[in-house]
Symmetry: C2
Subunit: 417 residues, 2 copies
């Protein structure tokens, strides 16, 4: 089964908007075992959209066209599809009512233009998922190679995404004759390299290759951690989910303490959750990270119950005067521990993290860029470790942030045992 993607919009060609939709669709298709071998961007021009759709249909079994379904005059994807199908646009009165009632329920006045969105190519059907006012369309097209299909979705990402996962992917998989279900889970890790994780999972990986139970992929995702993705196929969603639950358990068992969460939870969300569970509050004393840690912690919904605040002691003497760090060199184990202790005291919190190091590009206190001390303090006990982080200034700051939050996560988990 091959499904290509056409993104419509002059603003995409002009670089005013980056086309992230096609990337997301490509990833979802791959996870569903559907090939997407070509993705195209084209402007709001009828002839060129028609040409692209014909081109794509000649090569692929199905085409997803994204964008150009809105109510304005330059939204002409509907017209292009009708031309490719060789049919007229007809007003769908159920759809018209639905659009009218959507506006009514939000108490908003509906410009008549919006009814353009109720015009659909004759023979097309409306996708069940319709989170906004733009309907998604399933448009059968007779071709010399048999019946193919064009799916039209709006360019608004969350509308497009709901239509893709809810309606289009199941439909494509049905058309491909594949009635099985593909699901995936993500194990999030920190503290080990991609090759290190691969080595730890080598025997497991070989076993998977042999049995074909599921597939394994590594995805480096910056401050979101290094992800291990497990994908499985089964006759039903329940079966796939049960199978994956076992595999996730196995992977977590092998990777142990490197795993900070499964699926969507970020490391700062894990930390805020653990603190909440243990009835602790937190603060941060930041130097090299300059406020990033506190910014991430305060971005977690519900942070106000556990996050007291932070002290960014960028200048050395702010470390001395505000946090009570003993005067002397500041990129040291002692300074990192004293900063974490100082944060607990000044901010009145039960736990704290601290960072002090060299973001670069220049060395500091004789230490090369990337040298960072990470400190923690929980229940009055301070500790610190040093790491040598790769990359430029920005990456050093980002990696220091996830590294110290992960360190505290490990301590909080040990504390709960």
């Amino acid at each position: 089964m091959r499904c290509d993607v056409v993104a419509v919009g002059t603003e995409l060609l002009l670089g005013q908007i980056v086309d992230t939709n096609s990337s997301w669709i490509g990833e979802q298709l791959a996870l569903s075992g559907i090939d997407s071998l070509r993705q195209t961007k084209v402007g709001d021009n009828l002839d060129r959209i028609v040409g692209e759709l014909r081109d794509a249909l000649a090569r692929a079994d199905a085409v997803i066209v994204c964008g150009g379904l809105g109510p304005t005059q330059d939204d002409i994807t509907r017209d292009a599809i009708a031309e490719v199908m060789g049919v007229a646009l007809v007003r769908d009165h159920d759809l018209e009512d639905r659009i009218r009632s959507m506006f009514g329920s939000r108490g908003r006045f509906m410009p008549d233009n919006n009814l353009r969105q109720a015009d659909v190519p004759e023979g097309a059907s409306i996708l069940d998922d319709m989170p906004g006012t733009a309907p998604g369309l399933r448009c059968p097209v007779a071709t010399p190679d048999g019946e193919k299909v064009i799916y039209a979705v709006p360019g608004v990402p969350w509308e497009m995404q709901q239509m893709l996962t809810g309606s289009i992917l199941p439909d494509l998989r049905r058309r491909s004759g594949d009635t099985s279900v593909i699901r995936s889970r993500v194990v999030r890790t920190w503290g080990q390299s991609e090759s290190g994780l691969a080595e730890m999972l080598a025997a497991y990986h070989d076993e998977l290759e042999e049995t074909g139970r599921c597939t394994l992929a590594f995805l480096a995702s910056g401050i979101e951690g290094l992800k291990v993705r497990l994908t499985a196929k089964a006759a039903t969603a329940e079966e796939a989910d049960a199978l994956l639950a076992d595999e996730v358990r196995t992977v977590c068992g092998v990777l142990g303490d490197y795993v900070f969460s499964v699926d969507d939870e970020s490391v700062e969300e894990v930390v805020v959750r653990l603190l909440h569970e243990q009835g602790l509050t937190i603060g941060a004393a930041e130097s090299v990270t300059g406020g990033l840690i506190t910014a991430r912690l305060t971005d977690v919904p519900g942070a106000s119950a556990v996050v007291r605040g932070g002290v960014v002691s960028y200048a050395s003497d702010v470390k001395f005067s505000v946090l009570g760090v003993p005067e002397g060199p500041v990129v040291t184990e002692e300074a990192a521990m004293a900063m974490a202790r100082g944060a607990c005291e000044v901010l009145g919190c039960d736990a704290a993290v601290s960072t002090t190091g060299v973001a670069g590009p220049d060395p500091m206190e004789g230490l090369p860029p990337g040298t960072v001390w990470l400190g923690t303090c929980v229940d009055g006990e301070a500790a610190a470790v040093t790491v040598r982080l790769p990359g430029d200034r920005d990456r050093v700051r980002q990696f220091a942030t996830i590294s110290v939050l992960n360190l505290l996560r490990q301590q909080l988990e040990r504390r709960a045992r």
Copy 2:
């Protein structure tokens, strides 16, 4: 002149990397007055790359192909171009020497694979700009419609960008017979809406339309401000630059204090520069922004000379105990001023900014989300203003950050007069 873009890489189709290169290239082409009507992504497959290039050449006068120029076996863009040109790949010995010496000068061992990058289609020439080890190529192709051209550039953004601006755009414009030069400048503003700016510039805009001296565009760019872009065409770069210098002066004159910089300088860079010029140090007292302001200030190169640090007083009683804010409601003018004054005192700095407000989603102290007080303190004088910011939690935090930095920028500029 029409130039289409082909991005090569299976990882782009799988959604592992978002194709931002094509968007950037599209924007640059548009600024140079060259149409880019179609942009395609294709995987690392010889037949499909050849097919895409032929397709693109049939429609456009020139094609930029991006990616697949590296040293590994799946880097096959060179091979695809040779096939389209109907020629063989030949080893370019000058290029071979250049690649060897690049590795030599960095003291690195060169794997033999890297010499693949010295193989070029017969008849192609190497672009002058070559910031990395992958050369860019200019490949003439005879077609039924006359000679066209394929430019090949690496997928590494900064390498691609240097080749595009340094070699390809001038070449394309020469080929189009357009010997004029197109340049643009950006005036960055904050504090006025897009329609507000348009209104202020309405008479000027009409005059530009009449005379055709240059064109005007508004670009909302989040925390980077609201940009006004001026683009002009002239016989020489010097002439275009001189013309734009006048226009920039005019626009700055009309928009006055809303303008925080011209071209690349961010608002935090302006603030750090002004502080440096005036011999002042800075600190921040943050609540709703949770550390974002300090993180941005400390991200400016050279920040350590002026940025002392910050206090993130997320919990109300940290405002009271650390910053000396009088107990009581904290989303108030008094609290914002007391926080800024407190930051100056605690951090030992000459100037400070502060934020306190409601990020949402829930109201606080009876105030709706988006209500923010922005405070400043310079030379011991505190001041505060309130704003009602639109958008979700993240946007409120981002907008509060740029708003308060812009406020301080205005005060520092007045102070210098």
